[in-house]
């Protein structure tokens, strides 16, 4: 399935969408840009820290609410579109449900286990408890209400057409996000045969019954890093940070990199992918699944 088809079918206006759930790596920018091109509105974005992607979706006017722990640009600092939305309601007002990294993970585990909330000791003494109605202090615990995404979008190193995804490197809250979500869109660097994914069932991230679409989207996480495939494009993040300081600058950036770009393949032609490509190989030692 193409990314355009996947977003068209599975990300309606008003949807609760989990994105960037592996934190700094494997951010599904291609999916986010397609959401912008299809002019989705009133989305509720769910994630831990978001390295620029939430900022872009907010600046493009797709977002009604964010349920997250941190929204900005990890190597550069503030998210300028996020600031404009919260401070000046530009391009529109934004509802913010503040979390910490731990609490957003627990909110997803609560949904995964189908309970109203999970208790934790974190956030005690934090004013986040005052501004987020999904967090209720009870005695010396905080009850974190379940957050159930309609869809989780994850980028992984490889997957097969049946939705069996292999991801490696730090996984952030990717597992609970997919388990909690009603459905998962998998975007992958490599589309492989089932004998590759099934050769290592422990590395399969999700039950295939959760996966509603598999999109073969090489470079779909740029400028974020993909272990074994692409390095992080620090300069691209810096350029975005500078140009997004003003609403006009952001509008121009968005036209150049999203709106006037039909798809990810075209986007990649404008980038020196070779300079980012990881060329050394560090294969994992095989696990022997022999049975007889």
């Amino acid at each position: 399935m193409s990314m355009a088809q996947a977003i068209e079918r599975f990300v309606p206006d008003g949807a609760t969408v989990a994105l960037g759930v592996a934190l700094e790596p494997l951010i599904p920018f291609a999916a986010g840009h397609e959401i912008i091109r299809q002019r989705r509105r009133e989305l509720n974005l769910v994630g831990p820290i978001s390295d620029s992607l939430f900022d872009q979706l907010i600046g493009a006017g797709c977002v009604g609410r964010v349920t997250a722990a941190w929204i900005g640009n990890v190597s550069e600092g503030l998210g300028h579109c996020y600031r404009r939305a919260c401070e000046q309601q530009v391009p529109r007002a934004l509802e913010v449900r503040d979390h910490s990294n731990f609490s957003i993970s627990l909110a997803l585990w609560a949904a995964a286990w189908n309970v109203p909330s999970l208790p934790t000791r974190t956030l005690l003494g934090s004013d986040i408890l005052r501004t987020n109605p999904d967090l209720s202090p009870v005695d010396d615990l905080v009850h974190v209400s379940a957050v159930r995404p309609d869809i989780a979008i994850v980028h992984v190193q490889r997957a097969d057409e049946f939705g069996r995804a292999h991801a490696w490197g730090p996984l952030g809250i990717a597992e609970e996000a997919g388990l909690a979500a009603a459905g998962v869109i998998v975007s992958c660097e490599e589309l492989v045969e089932a004998d590759v994914t099934l050769s290592d069932p422990n590395r399969i991230l999700y039950a295939e019954t959760k996966v509603v679409a598999v999109v073969h989207e090489p470079g779909g996480a740029h400028p974020s890093p993909v272990q074994g495939f692409l390095k992080r494009d620090h300069a691209f993040y810096r350029d975005y940070a500078e140009r997004s300081r003003s609403a006009d600058g952001f509008a121009e950036w968005l036209r150049e990199w999203v709106l006037d770009v039909p798809d990810r393949a075209t986007y990649l032609k404008r980038i020196d992918v070779e300079a980012l490509r990881i060329k050394n190989h560090r294969p994992s030692a095989p696990a022997d699944y022999g049975d007889d």
Binding site: L78, R121, G125, S126, P170, E175, K231
Partner: protein
């Protein structure tokens, strides 16, 4: 004589000295990553680093890190896992030291990284907690690093994202159920502020070379207590600077 160094290099050197050998350190982004690397290469060679993205390491990554999730940080990792597993170790009290960056800190060590002004109509919306509140509440002790400006070191933060000693009254953390002991130092571009045993209000402990107590006081947003034993911060050693420049070769984090 030691070489010239930037204020950030001074902060990294001081931060690295907060890491004790065999500590499990919850490493935040930017300067703390460098502080961990420096400490590992000198006095804390059996320390381990835990990264909220879902990694544990012993050796610092061999290569520049723009984020803790960059590929070099995964090579040689002792554990690549879920964030919630890293948080579990911290919730069990296994994390000895945490680092938190802040936009605003107050006299009681509370950090604000959420809202300047009324949260319903903020004058500045900051990125938020990330793992900051988790570290502030769950790690055994923690340190924050900040540029020393009157607008950043304020009397009381308008919003407590990551709690230090709250209202500064004795036992505030225990009363409110916070697990860890709280902040032990505020490391700035001008000085090092510390807290009394059991917490409370920050005081000036050491002033960085080339700066004065008056300069520090003038750039602090509350009447700063001065230790009667206030001294000069020891400058970064050549070894410390060498390590810093090895891990930040282009001065991405520590350049002027």
């Amino acid at each position: 004589m030691t070489e010239r160094y930037s204020p950030q290099e001074m902060m990294v050197a001081v931060a690295s000295r907060e890491i004790r050998d065999a500590d499990l350190v919850f490493v935040g982004m930017r300067l703390p990553v460098l502080a961990y690397a420096v400490a590992r290469n000198s006095h804390a060679q059996s320390a381990r680093g835990l990264f909220e993205v879902g990694l544990m390491r012993d050796q610092p990554a061999d290569g520049f890190l723009g984020t803790m999730g960059d590929p070099p940080n995964v090579v040689g990792a002792l554990w690549a896992t879920r964030m919630s597993n890293a948080m579990a170790l911290m919730a069990q009290g296994n994390v000895d030291l945490g680092f938190i960056g802040g936009a605003e800190v107050d006299r009681y060590g509370n950090l604000n990284t959420s809202y300047v002004g009324d949260p319903t109509r903020p004058t500045v919306k900051l990125p938020g907690s990330g793992g900051g509140a988790d570290i502030a509440i769950l790690s055994r002790r923690w340190v924050t690093l900040m540029s020393h400006e009157k607008r950043r070191l304020v009397d009381r933060v308008s919003f407590i994202t990551s709690p230090g000693y709250g209202d500064g009254t004795a036992g505030w953390r225990k009363r409110n159920g916070l697990l860890g002991a709280g902040p032990v130092a505020i490391i700035t571009t001008l000085a090092v502020l510390r807290f009394p045993e059991g917490g409370g209000e920050a005081y000036l402990d050491t002033v960085h070379p080339g700066h004065s107590v008056d300069e520090v006081v003038a750039n602090t947003g509350w009447p700063l207590h001065i230790s009667d034993r206030v001294t000069e911060t020891s400058a970064p050693t050549d070894a410390e600077l060498q390590a810093i420049r090895h891990f930040d070769p282009d001065g991405f984090w520590t350049g002027v």
